[in-house]
């Protein structure tokens, strides 16, 4: 049953990921405001700009970090059975990062200065947990995706509290990404993340790190 699901997922990822890669490639060079509407409404005052900047900055940093984590996992487990699964999740994260790059550029948001740090830290986290085996990689995925989903949820709550009408498109984007992250979380659980010895410890350590990263990226 699990094997069937596995092969189904594998087959599906084989068809979907080239498609995704195709879509990514055919975008071409980034155009200046090529769409008729913008995801983020132009801010009315500096306080709103500050709030939106923080939200977008930390989301961008999060997707960037997630990218690097999956890259680290692929570097270790890329040629094993879980390779295609991790590749599929990585491709979705790449799509998210692409979207946030676009939004940041359009809205002239400063990216966090700690990007090089997240670059290295993410890769190391992904690679080191992957060295614990497939369960380790899945446990890392579960921990990170849970943190990110929680974080997106709190952003959604904050935006809904402020003005759901005004931020409709932004909310849509964040909700979509949150759903993707939840899916990754569930995938991780399905693939025996919890069977890792020391799962609870690893999960909490990673989540603590994520919380710290989120706090810092909002400000720096």
């Amino acid at each position: 049953m699990q094997r069937a699901a596995h092969t189904a997922l594998y087959d599906w990822s084989q068809t979907v990921s080239p498609m995704i890669r195709q879509c990514l490639k055919s975008r071409g060079p980034l155009q200046l405001s090529s769409r008729a509407y913008s995801v983020v409404p132009p801010p009315r005052d500096s306080e709103e700009k500050e709030m939106l900047d923080r939200i977008l900055r930390v989301d961008h940093a999060g997707e960037y970090g997630a990218n690097r984590i999956y890259a680290g996992q692929m570097a270790v487990l890329g040629r094993t059975r879980t390779g295609p699964l991790i590749q599929h999740m990585w491709d979705q994260e790449k799509k998210h990062l692409e979207k946030f790059n676009e939004i940041l550029a359009e809205n002239r948001v400063r990216p966090t200065a700690l990007l090089p740090l997240w670059n290295v830290a993410g890769f190391l986290l992904g690679a080191s947990t992957a060295m614990l085996g497939k369960e380790g990689a899945m446990a890392c995925t579960v921990a990170v995706e849970e943190s990110i989903s929680e974080h997106y949820n709190s952003q959604i709550r904050a935006l809904m509290e402020k003005d759901p009408e005004r931020y409709t498109e932004l909310l849509q984007v964040i909700k979509e990404f949150r759903d993707d992250e939840m899916e990754h979380h569930d995938t991780g659980l399905e693939h025996e993340a919890e069977s890792l010895p020391g799962y609870w410890l690893l999960k909490n350590a990673i989540q603590l790190g994520c919380k710290a990263a989120i706090y810092v990226s909002q400000r720096v």
Binding site: H60, R79, N101, A105, R108, L115, P116
Partner: protein, 335 residues
């Protein structure tokens, strides 16, 4: 923060204004909002052509109910630092005609305090060659507007206020010029410039705005370096550099964002320094210096790119060697 709240509450009770709420950013002009309000009222008593009602509500905070009309002012005030430059500069040309739809108040001609300050500072600029960047220039400017020279009491930072206002004005002028050029390019009426040329032209345009005041500019620069002026001057500088790069087409969202802006800041500051001691006709030496610096940065960028691609090639070579080694020793089995 608590003292600020107490002062504001007292001010509210005294002035009977419903709209003043303490702002989270404890910047100097806002901390002294209460005193400014009194000065404002004092000025109004002197100047009979203005209305009696104090009206600095929309200028001091952002948590306002009246956001619809003051949105532009607030945005401009927020993005251009301490004094409202864009709408205020325009308002300066037609004084006393800001119709603001505040609930509970009727439409009347009055001016916010920031608009008044902007008008005075604009008038003061023509006295700068004579008096330098100082209170005397501001007093002379106020007098040309028909105000008493005691209105300089509004400006706690003296010459610093004048310099910061001037810089904000220059920045917004530059942004307008760049936006105009950008529009022309998008409409197809002009050719897009290469990045190096664009940067050079933008910085040259911006520095040329200093030419009328070049004799006194060293004084202005030293004013900007005073500790209490540094946050504001850095903010203006970073806005300037960000704007120039944005219109130059930079849309990077990684460390390049920082390196590009740092490089341009360096170029701008050093060129400014060269300019103040340049005595060549039409500052030709300065523009040559600028050309060379931009060339340096371009070369550095090219070198960095080359190094990166070389590095990548080397890494690939090493990976290939490692894989070969693993194959030879039989370590590269599929798990």
């Amino acid at each position: 923060m608590a003292a600020l709240l107490r002062g504001v509450r007292a001010g509210r009770a005294l002035r009977g204004l419903a709209g003043v709420v303490s702002a989270p950013a404890a910047r100097k002009p806002q901390c002294s909002g209460l005193r400014r309000g009194f000065h404002c009222a004092a000025l109004r008593l002197q100047d009979e052509s203005k209305s009696d009602k104090p009206s600095s509500s929309s200028s001091t905070t952002y948590h306002e109910h009246y956001q619809a009309h003051s949105a532009e002012q607030d945005t401009a005030a927020a993005s251009h630092g301490d004094s409202a430059s864009d709408p205020a500069a325009e308002e300066a040309a037609r004084p006393n005609t800001s119709y603001q739809d505040q609930s509970g108040e009727q439409n009347e001609e009055y001016e916010t305090e920031e608009q008044l300050q902007a008008r005075i500072l604009n008038a003061a600029l023509e006295f700068v060659p004579q008096h330098g960047w100082s209170m005397e220039a501001i007093a002379a400017g106020a007098e040309t507007l028909g105000l008493s020279s005691a209105s300089t009491g509004m400006f706690y930072n003296g010459g610093g206020d004048l310099v910061l206002h001037f810089i904000a004005q220059c920045n917004s002028q530059l942004t307008d010029i760049l936006a105009e050029q950008h529009k022309e390019i998008q409409l197809g009426q002009a050719e897009a410039k290469k990045t190096a040329d664009f940067l050079r032209d933008a910085i040259e345009t911006r520095l040329r705005m200093y030419i009328p005041y070049i004799e006194t500019w060293p004084q202005a620069m030293s004013l900007l370096l005073l500790p209490h002026n540094i946050p504001d001057s850095l903010k203006h500088l970073s806005t300037l550099v960000d704007d120039i790069w944005y219109y130059a087409g930079d849309r990077s969202t990684d460390m390049n964002w920082y390196t590009k802006r740092a490089a341009l800041t360096g170029i701008f500051n050093t060129t400014e320094l060269v300019m103040v001691q340049d005595s060549s006709p039409d500052f030709q030496d300065t523009w040559n210096f600028l050309d060379n610096r931009i060339q340096d940065v371009t070369n550095m960028a090219t070198t960095a790119k080359q190094m990166q691609s070389t590095g990548e090639t080397v890494v690939q070579g090493l990976m290939g060697a490692a894989v070969t080694l693993k194959n030879l020793t039989g370590m590269n089995q599929r798990r």
